[in-house]
C-alpha cells in the first residue's frame, strides 16, 4: 500500500522552532493563520506585520515577507503597505497590549477607513513579553504584576471588548471573536480567520478576528488548567461569534454552534 501524507506543516510556516512558552496558544493560532493562507493560495503574495509583544518574532515563523512594527502601529504599517501595493495580502498579528492599549487609535482608524487588511488580535488578558503586567483586557480581579491585588475596576475600569468596539463602526467590516482553548473552538477560529482573509482576497473590507488565548506563564496557571480558566473566566465576558459582516451591521454575536 502506498503511503499518503494526510497531515503536514503549512508552507506558510518556516522550520524555525518558536520561542513561545509551554502551553501558550500562539503556536496554534500561527498554524491556523498559516493553514488559511495556504488553503486560500495567498502565501506567496502575503506580507505580515509583527507587533511588539510576545509575537514580536513572528517574522521568524511565517514563511512570508514581513514587517516589524513599532508598538501598536501595525495597522498603520498595514495601511502603508496595502495602499502602496493593493495586490498584496496584508495582515497584522497583534496582542492585547499592542492593539487594545497603545495601538487602539491605529486599529480603530484602520477599520474605520475600511483598509482591506486583516488583523489577527490575540487576547490573552495580560502583557506577556514584559512579564505579566495588567492589560486593557485583563479580567476584573485578575492578578497581574501591576495589579497584585487583582484588577480593580474602580481604578482601571473594565476590560475593553475589542470585537464589540470595532463592530460599532459604520464602515463595512468582518469582525469576529473566536477561541482556541479546545479543538472544536480551534476549528471555529480557523473558519473565522478564513472568512477574514477571504474578505481581503475579494477586496471587500477590513477584517479582524479576536482570538482568546492563554498565558500559563504569566497567569501562573498550568497549561491544561489555563484552558479551563479561559473557558470559565474569559468566555462569559468575551462572547464568541461573528459581530459584523460586510453585508450589514450585524452587531449581535452569533454563538458558536454547540454552545461556547
Amino acid at each position: 500500500m502506498p503511503e499518503t501524507l494526510v497531515f503536514g506543516k503549512p508552507t506558510a510556516l518556516t522550520e524555525v522552532p518558536t520561542h513561545y512558552c509551554p502551553g501558550c496558544t500562539h503556536g496554534v493560532i500561527h498554524r491556523l493563520v498559516a493553514e488559511v493562507l495556504d488553503e486560500l493560495d495567498l502565501t506567496r503574495r502575503t506580507v505580515g506585520i509583527a507587533p511588539v509583544g510576545c509575537s514580536v518574532l513572528a517574522y521568524n515563523y511565517f514563511a512570508t515577507d514581513f514587517h516589524e512594527a513599532s508598538h501598536g502601529r501595525a495597522p498603520a504599517v498595514a495601511t502603508g503597505i496595502k495602499r502602496a501595493r493593493p495586490d498584496l495580502i496584508v495582515f497584522s498579528y497583534q496582542g492585547d497590549g499592542d492593539l487594545a492599549s497603545i495601538g487602539l487609535s491605529e486599529v480603530l482608524h484602520c477599520a474605520n477607513r475600511g483598509e482591506k487588511v486583516t488583523v489577527i488580535f490575540v487576547n490573552n488578558a495580560i502583557y506577556g513579553m514584559t512579564g505579566g503586567q495588567m492589560a486593557p483586557t485583563t479580567m476584573p480581579g485578575q492578578v497581574a504584576t501591576t495589579c497584585p491585588l487583582g484588577r480593580d475596576v474602580e481604578q482601571a475600569g473594565y476590560p475593553i471588548r475589542i470585537a464589540e468596539l470595532i463592530s460599532t463602526l459604520r464602515t463595512p467590516a468582518f469582525v469576529a471573536r473566536a477561541s482556541v482553548h479546545s479543538p472544536l473552538h480551534a476549528v471555529h477560529a480557523k473558519e473565522m480567520i478564513r472568512r477574514a482573509f477571504r474578505c481581503q482576497k475579494e477586496g471587500r473590507c477590513f477584517s479582524l478576528v479576536e482570538v482568546l488565548s492563554t498565558c500559563p506563564t504569566n497567569w501562573g496557571i498550568p497549561p491544561a488548567e489555563s484552558l479551563a480558566w479561559l473557558e470559565q473566566h474569559m468566555l462569559p465576558y468575551y462572547p464568541l461569534g461573528v459581530f459584523k459582516t460586510p453585508e450589514g451591521p450585524d452587531r449581535a454575536p452569533r454563538p458558536l454552534a454547540g454552545g461556547a
Binding site: 506567496r44 506580507v47 504599517v77 502602496a84 487609535s105 482608524h109
Partner: protein, 359 residues
C-alpha cells in the same frame, strides 16, 4: 516646462509627484496644510493615493509600511507633528527605508506658535528620534530650490536607503515664486531595483523582513557600524552649500541657512554699498554639515556671525568647524519674529569695526 508661479508648499508637493512619488500620508498642522491639500487633489489625477492619517504617529508608520513595500512615499508636517513622527523615523532609519519628510518649521517649544522659526535644527541634524542614526537634511532658500531638493531627496533616499528631511520654514511654505520643473530631469544618483522590498515571497530571493530589531548585541553592533559607514559616506559625498563673496577679501563671514540666508543676502548688498566687506556661507545640506567650507571661509575673516531663527543651534556646528581660530558671534530672533537685513547689516558693521566681541 515653462516657469509657473507657485506657493512653496505646492511646489514641493508637485516636485514629489514629478519625482515619481504616488503616495502621501499626513496629518493636518499649520503652517504646512497646503502640502497635504495639494497632494489630496493632485495624487488621484496621476493614479496615486492620499491618506489623511489619524495622527502624525500613524502617518510616520504608514510611510514605513509603504516604503518597505518598495514605493516612493512622502509625508509633511510642522514641528510638533515632526516630534510625533520621530517614532516612525527611528524605525525607518533602523530598517534602512527610503522616505522623504518635509518639516515646515514653526516656533516652539511645545505648541509654540505658527510663525516661522528654525528651532528644529538639533532635532533634524542630530538624529531626532531614539537610537544612533542620522537623516540627510536639506534646507532650501527659495521655492525653486525647494522643488529641486525635494526631487533630489527621493533619489538620495533610495540611493542610501535612508530618510531624507527637507527642513524649511513657514516662509518657504507660504511664499510664491516662479518655479520650473525640468521635463528631462535625470536621477541625481544611480538607482537600483528595490530587491529588498516586501512584495510577497515566491522563493526566488531571500525573504524580505523589514526590521530594526536585533536581540543579539553583536548583530546590532554590526548593524550600527553598517549605518555609521553609510552616514560617513554621506558626509563625504553629500555636502551641499552655496557661497557669496568668499573668493574676495572680507572681514566678516556670515553663516545662515534657509530663508534667513535670503535676508543675509540682501544685507550683503547693502553692506557692499556701505563699503563693509562681508561674505556668506549658506549650508544647503545641514547633515552632512559643510564643516570644511565653513572652516576655510572663516580663516579669511576676523569674525564669524551666525544668523538663525532660534537662540542658537547651527552655531554649534559652525564653532566645531571654526575650531576656535576666529570668534563666532550670534544673531537671532525667536518666537516667529524675523531677522531684517538692517539687523544683520548693523551687527556685521559692529564686528567689522572690531566691536561687539563679547559674544
Amino acid at each position: 516646462m515653462a516657469k509657473k508661479l507657485m506657493k512653496g508648499a505646492e511646489a514641493m508637493g508637485e516636485a514629489a509627484i514629478q519625482a515619481g512619488c504616488r503616495l502621501f500620508f499626513g496629518y493636518p498642522i499649520t503652517p504646512q496644510n497646503e502640502i497635504p491639500e495639494y497632494m489630496s487633489a493632485r495624487l488621484p489625477q496621476v493614479g496615486g493615493t492620499f491618506v489623511q492619517a489619524e495622527s502624525e504617529v500613524a502617518a510616520s508608520n504608514m510611510i514605513y509600511g509603504a516604503a518597505g513595500a518598495g514605493e516612493r512615499v512622502l509625508t509633511s508636517s510642522s514641528s510638533p507633528g515632526i516630534s510625533l513622527m520621530m517614532e516612525g523615523l527611528s524605525y525607518i532609519a533602523g530598517s534602512e527605508l527610503p522616505v522623504v519628510v518635509i518639516n515646515i518649521m514653526r516656533a516652539g517649544p511645545g505648541l509654540g506658535g505658527i510663525l516661522p522659526a528654525q528651532g528644529d535644527y538639533f532635532q533634524a541634524t542630530k538624529g531626532g528620534g531614539h537610537g544612533d542614526y542620522r537623516c540627510l537634511v536639506l534646507a532650501p532658500w527659495s521655492v525653486q530650490e525647494a522643488a529641486d531638493l525635494v526631487q533630489d531627496a527621493f533619489d538620495l533616499a533610495d540611493y542610501y536607503r535612508n530618510p531624507v528631511l527637507i527642513l524649511g520654514d513657514g516662509l518657504i511654505g507660504q511664499m510664491m515664486e516662479p518655479v520650473e520643473f525640468k521635463a528631462d530631469r535625470r536621477p541625481c544618483r544611480p538607482l537600483t531595483p528595490k530587491t529588498w522590498a516586501s512584495t510577497g515571497w515566491k522563493g526566488d530571493r531571500p525573504r524580505a523582513i523589514i526590521n530594526s530589531l536585533f536581540l543579539d548585541p553583536e548583530a546590532l553592533e554590526r548593524h550600527n557600524q553598517k549605518l555609521a559607514a553609510k552616514y560617513a559616506a554621506m558626509e563625504r559625498d553629500e555636502v551641499r552649500l552655496a557661497e557669496v563673496g568668499t573668493d574676495g577679501e572680507y572681514e566678516v563671514l556670515v553663516v545662515a541657512y534657509g530663508t534667513v540666508a535670503r535676508v543675509v543676502y540682501t544685507a550683503l548688498d547693502d553692506l557692499q554699498q556701505a563699503g563693509v566687506r562681508a561674505a556668506m556661507v549658506r549650508p544647503i545640506s545641514l547633515f552632512p554639515f559643510p564643516y570644511e567650507a565653513v572652516r576655510r571661509a572663516a580663516e579669511k575673516a576676523k569674525a564669524v556671525l551666525v544668523a538663525e531663527l532660534s537662540t542658537g543651534q547651527m552655531i554649534e556646528d559652525v564653532r566645531l568647524a571654526v575650531g576656535g581660530r576666529v570668534p563666532v558671534h550670534f544673531i537671532g530672533r525667536q518666537g516667529g519674529m524675523l531677522l531684517t537685513p538692517e539687523d544683520i547689516a548693523a551687527r556685521v558693521k559692529e564686528l567689522a569695526a572690531g566691536e561687539g566681541s563679547h559674544a
